[in-house]
Assembly symmetry: D2
Homo-oligomer: 495 residues x 4
């Protein structure tokens, strides 16, 4: 029997070069398991609808079991360049195993067009679950770092210039909040992905008496897609998956850049563990943070994958076109890269060394408290902020030593000159500027880097984390339920 089992309508086989060009078989490894699961569910339903007999379903399920056992790259590699994709390959393997009279029935009431959408939706669903776990794990590494660095003072930067006094914990909580939003979005996409396209057949559904509710149940899909064209032609769920992964990667690239800058000798705020560093083939002194650079670099791919998808989808008419095949490898690539990136980043954070002293001296060696001084003037003297800002700006401009910023004489002279001699700052009111802890304590508003507020933020982060965790756990349980249902049925049918 020929391999191109669909091809009776044409006189000619496909040109070999063309088959090589068209074949997605190697890439289909990514959806192999899903293709088998989808076929199991479809076949069970066909049996329940009396389209397959008991003996037929037994043989088909056994045959699928065999394929599952051999299920690994090797099968596919063996057949590579002989099949256009995974779907005819598996149909062919079954037909070879149980004969055309039985195997020829598995494709009843479905088409490659809805089948590949089942596979993709099942696989994305799985990837989202996996990714959520990796992100929760990263939170589990970052939250303790945040908790233990609430008094690790550091300069906060804008424009690469020292801006305000802060603490390391505050930076980490910035990361934590973003990661929580990533997980939230993942959940939303999950909901839109987890729908059943089976039954759409090629594009216009089927006259075979299939039961979509049942395949949805067997596959753990939350609902059916209510229009067969939408089911096989739309790829919005893939595009939104890709854009979300790109969004995550952009954020991680920013984190990597933070760490890269901080680990230069010139900043020296942190040390990256040697296990995450490379050396030079010629310069004996080098210790290079290559893993951070490569995180930054690999992030580029995730955004260009979005562009690839946009180029593929833009102005593609409704309906299935072979172009859509090219979405699969970029989806796999984006999921695989983001998981690796987060994994490495988790490793870097769990071994990071923070140079408290270096950060402290960087604060001291700066005018970073200038805003605190200006606000002190406002609070104490009730003068307009803009005037206070201008005066402190002049003090900085005219100062010869960093200490000038806290010189009560200079300050009061400046005030006298710009506001009037009625306004005098009392030396004691400035005392707290010598104590980083007290400075931050004064910033007693939601979201500030004061210890109290950081504790509030941390509680909020943990609450939100647990809320999202519960959502994902419940989804996972539903999926496990459907898996169990399928397994039980298969066991029963095979017994």
């Amino acid at each position: 029997m020929r391999n191109d089992i669909y091809r009776t309508r044409l006189a000619k086989s496909m040109d070999k070069r063309v088959l090589k060009f068209l074949s997605s078989l190697n890439e289909d490894n990514w959806i192999l398991e899903e293709d088998i699961i989808g076929t199991e569910a479809h076949s069970i339903m066909l049996y329940e609808q009396n389209i397959l007999s008991l003996s037929e379903i037994k043989k088909i399920l056994k045959s699928l079991n065999k394929i599952k056992i051999e299920m690994n790259k090797k099968i596919i590699n063996k057949h590579s360049n002989k099949f256009e994709d995974i779907h005819p390959l598996i149909e062919k393997l079954i037909i070879d195993d149980v004969g055309m009279d039985i195997g020829g029935k598995i494709h009843t009431g479905r088409s490659r067009n809805d089948q590949v959408c089942v596979d993709l939706r099942l696989r994305i669903r799985k990837e989202i679950i996996m990714l959520s776990k990796i992100l929760f794990n990263l939170l589990d590494i970052l939250i303790p770092i945040s908790k233990s660095s609430k008094k690790t003072y550091m300069p906060l930067y804008t424009h690469f210039q020292k801006a305000q006094l802060g603490v390391f914990s505050h930076y980490i909580n910035n990361y934590n909040l973003q990661i929580l939003r990533m997980i939230e979005r993942l959940y939303e996409v999950f909901q839109r992905v987890n729908l059943n396209p089976l039954g759409a057949c090629a594009i216009g559904a089927t006259s075979i008496n299939i039961d979509r509710e049942r395949t949805a149940e067997l596959l753990g899909f939350e609902n059916n897609i209510y229009n067969s064209i939408d089911a096989i032609s739309s790829r919005d769920y893939i595009y939104e998956s890709l854009t979300l992964l790109s969004l995550c990667s952009l954020q991680f690239s920013r984190i990597a850049e933070d760490l890269l800058i901080w680990s230069t000798k010139e900043f020296d705020f942190i040390n990256i563990d040697e296990g995450f560093c490379s050396v030079s083939s010629v310069m004996p002194q080098k210790k290079n943070p290559d893993s951070l650079e490569l995180i930054r670099g690999k992030c580029s791919k995730l955004s260009s994958n979005v562009m690839n998808a946009a180029l593929l989808l833009k102005a593609l008419p409704t309906g299935y076109f072979r172009d859509l095949q090219e979405l699969k490898p970029i989806l796999e690539d984006s999921f695989s890269k983001i998981k690796a990136i987060i994994d490495i980043l988790a490793g870097i954070f769990s071994t990071i060394k923070i140079n408290n002293n270096k950060m402290k001296s960087s604060i001291k060696n700066s005018y970073i408290l200038a805003l605190d001084l200006a606000e002190l003037m406002v609070n104490e003297l009730k003068i307009p902020f803009r005037k206070a800002h201008n005066m402190v700006g002049l003090i900085v401009k005219e100062s010869n030593h960093l200490e000038d910023l806290f010189d009560i004489k200079i300050i009061n002279n400046k005030i006298k000159e710009h506001i009037g001699s009625d306004f005098i700052l009392i030396k004691e009111s400035m005392d707290y500027l010598k104590d980083f802890n007290l400075i931050l304590k004064r910033r007693d508003i939601i979201g500030s880097p004061s210890e109290k507020q950081i504790n509030i933020t941390l509680k909020m982060i943990e609450k939100e984390k647990n809320k999202l965790l519960d959502l994902f756990i419940s989804k996972q349980k539903e999926l496990e339920k459907s898996t169990q249902l399928r397994k039980n049925l298969i066991q029963k049918l095979l017994s």
Copy 2:
């Protein structure tokens, strides 16, 4: 008084060319109204916190009212190239109006960094509401078209080749379902956008005794952002807005392409109203569907805007950088383009003419019922689908006339040859293949183009539409409540 009110720390003014290069003033028109609203709310809170006196808040609110009245491009154009952006311009206008002693207080406890985030979040919020309305309007045009074309038979295509029999309504419902998902995503983004960054100040919050809960309430923000770095440095809400608009545009580009193909003389399924067509400067016979082409074309911009944002954000360290300024014009551009695109598309759909006869004859002039025939064999004779598929494939290959597909003799010969002489198809069982309505009726599964199923899908679409509409209406009411709260307070304070 000099225009660069922040600049005492530096000896030199900014180079003129540099100011022109840096200034976002022209683009800031987009957030002008929001900047004023944000300043009102911040000022009211400062008054309530006893940082502004009653007479001070009165003067400031009056001054803001004046600016609001003159609020239009002209103000900004006049000052263009004199200010770096809208924030110092408005502060300067107020100071010029009410004097430094009062006007110099409005920037107490905030910074441009949190202020611009307020403006952007308020504006995106508004745009999302507007966009949702335009999408609901498009649904209101498409749903009646769907309802009235449930018996408008048309060929469904895959690979630009006729695939299965369908109806026009089914195509439209495919669009409807996608639009519903767009609205759903808009709502999710809205929730993440509608948060208060005020109080983050430059990056590390403020020691001024401000009340973030209150500004959040006054501005209708659902919650505060719980980390000051996150508040001023993250742009994930912008990136996800841009990706969602890109997703919408890609879908609309596919719809435009459908319509373009169908309106070629060769297909001739629809007529685009002349009001949406252009002519040639030389070819007198031409009637060109330029508006569809330009929809397709303009969609490109929305995806390249995503890329622009990715390029801007990738590996940007945490903190504020001037690069972020470049996100504003692309956000404005994406919202503005998508609204125009949908508007034009709504116009095209409300004037479209469907050529029923042309579509019907296209169906008849094809082998489009081949799958129905193969499934008929399966249903009647219980033979494996793959065999039925192969046999019908051969009939098509060997046929001289389209009618051969329904020739009971040819069919039964083929069956005899491939299955055996025990299997005979009865002529009457094929009768329904002559009636498009009956053919579709047999496809009695969820999401099929049969009239019954289309009615179910339409009900589902309307239910989902109403659910989303309720969500948006409730959001809008909350926003109106905060607007009213602000207005009442202002009125009271000014009286």
Copy 3:
């Protein structure tokens, strides 16, 4: 001996996960041959500079020969996940083979940083030569098609609407001219790529007495790069290669789209050979031009690869960073995809069937000669073109039959009405409008689809093709000369 031969400076080995994350070994297969060639040339030069002795160079060259023989994926796979990249692997293999005292010398006066640039430049050089051959081959298929279809009349389209009468040959020559420009650009890029980075070492050159002129000669590089930072840090030659491949792909995607449209049943201008078509898994009647769709689809990747490179390079400081490693796989991907695309397209064109009759009837079934009529009025009656255009426009609008366009009475009535009764078109002057050949003959200007002008264009195309072919042949000869020089030296040294 440990595999990480560079790593004495660090106490710790690299984390295994990190090594997997960082390693480019699998991708380095693409530059394996080039890495060996580069090492041969560098070693020969070291010998000539008395840095290696005769017995040392002999052993090193023999060792390289061994590696060359085993040179295939298997070597690399074996070492995969043990080395960061190809460079330490080969150095280690040589050291293992000939001992540290000799093998430890091959990296004298060079670094991975200049070495990888040698490899990339050699490989791009080779790819450009290969690609130029494939493009010349495509021209050799298209030029005969053009020559044989000078009288194959077809409608030319703008806006998907019939515009002017033309011939198939004219379309093909449009393709030919674009392919010629691609080859021209390839040559320009070749010139900028073919430069020697060796000697730049890590970034600041070397104090070893190496001879850059000699390695340039041995490797066929046209010149040295005159700044060591530029040599190791710039990737403009990669970016311009990627953009050129993207440009080519966009053009080929447009050709694929032309063919897709023309091969719909509705247009039916061409038949794609079955060897290049796919079938449906369920619809027995389908013959789908999947290979054209996949050409269109794969083209997306080449433009997103440009975006990937832009994301990688944007704002990367000068110097080497590990991010740059990610450029290699996209370069390989772009070259590999464009070669496959052109190859398949060449196959499609060499088996294409043109439906002359269908195109002719499409012309007849239209108002496509409307402009010819308007220009006839201008030529015969010296009336303003705009008036002629307007009158013919009215004739089309008011016409009931296609023939009205050539009805002398209708035309003269229209003229009388709009111009005056002094102007009368003589029936005989319109006779040529019945003969497609005569119509085109009147368009006797450079670049028109008239047979005479097509012959001129074809001559120009062949002349340009030969000019470019000569350029590439001369480049190839230079490369062969350097290969021969290297081989002779190696043979002499090994004898």
Copy 4:
């Protein structure tokens, strides 16, 4: 007379919203001058071909002169939303001025399709000339900086880590070489742009007896395009312009990043002039290099413009489509942004302050000479480089003080331990490591940062600059010649 002068074929005017959506009139300001020039040349040719009479050409040229005088945004704004684009507007203005009988002739033998290509090619040609001048100007600022900083020692970095000793001049020459390649590529694109599309008419040329050679001459086009489809449908010259501008911008973003890093307080290698810096609205101490950040930021747009073009062109069938209109604004944007970026960068470089001492102390405070030491061992003791590299690596690892690297005892102990006691480094051989100048002198190979080699590179740079300058001057002269030819003819005809 109605504004839509082309529209007799249709019964309905264009919908107002649609006209607003379609109209490119505001953007067409960019090609207004070119459109007039193109019309002048076309009209003169029509006169010379006896299609216009002397009195007709006089009136048309006078009318064009009037439009030229009023030529500024205001004309266009007045007509905005009344015309689809610039072409019918100008035709209409002429007809209004000189009457239909004469004005109605200017569009004889051409179409908007070839006309817009004339405009675009003329404009790109002009932009390339302008851009080349700005780049030459940047070189004229950078070359003197390079010349004066040949002894300004600085650390060269890879991976953000100090790598090798260099000089500032060497960094600048890296920039210079890249700028030279930009100019070279500009010239190549210029050659492909400078071709005449006129005569292609809509797509299939014209039967009017026009003279393409003459319009080419009058417009300074080097040659005609030899295929009318290619002339109106291809946009490769636009895509390659955009990719080249993107390439330039990526390079400038890397330069901006270098300067940003160097101007942090932590590095402190350079000072950016205050005229190019911004301040904070709240933090009085800040001096932010906003102009560099915005250069970096604006560069993103140029690469996303490439993506926009790719999205527009991908799979667009051959022929003119309205989508192509969207290429114009991104072309204008890319040219305008790159010119501004380079201009600001030129300003920054002409006012930059280099902190020699800071760079020197950064060198001293490092192990940056480790490779020089390893190579010294190789040169003096003839030991394998890999061994020397390993030993120096160990010295760094085990060292307590930076001075250990030059401690002859430590070094000789290490040598004894790893190589044997026969090998001893003589103290005097290390003396030169104390003198930066002598260290670089030893790197006496092409492209190194030694003074001698920098002088050679600088000579090469100046030679290349002059060569390219000559090419551009000769092109400019040719364009001026054609401008003069046109002006003389117009003057003669109008006299």
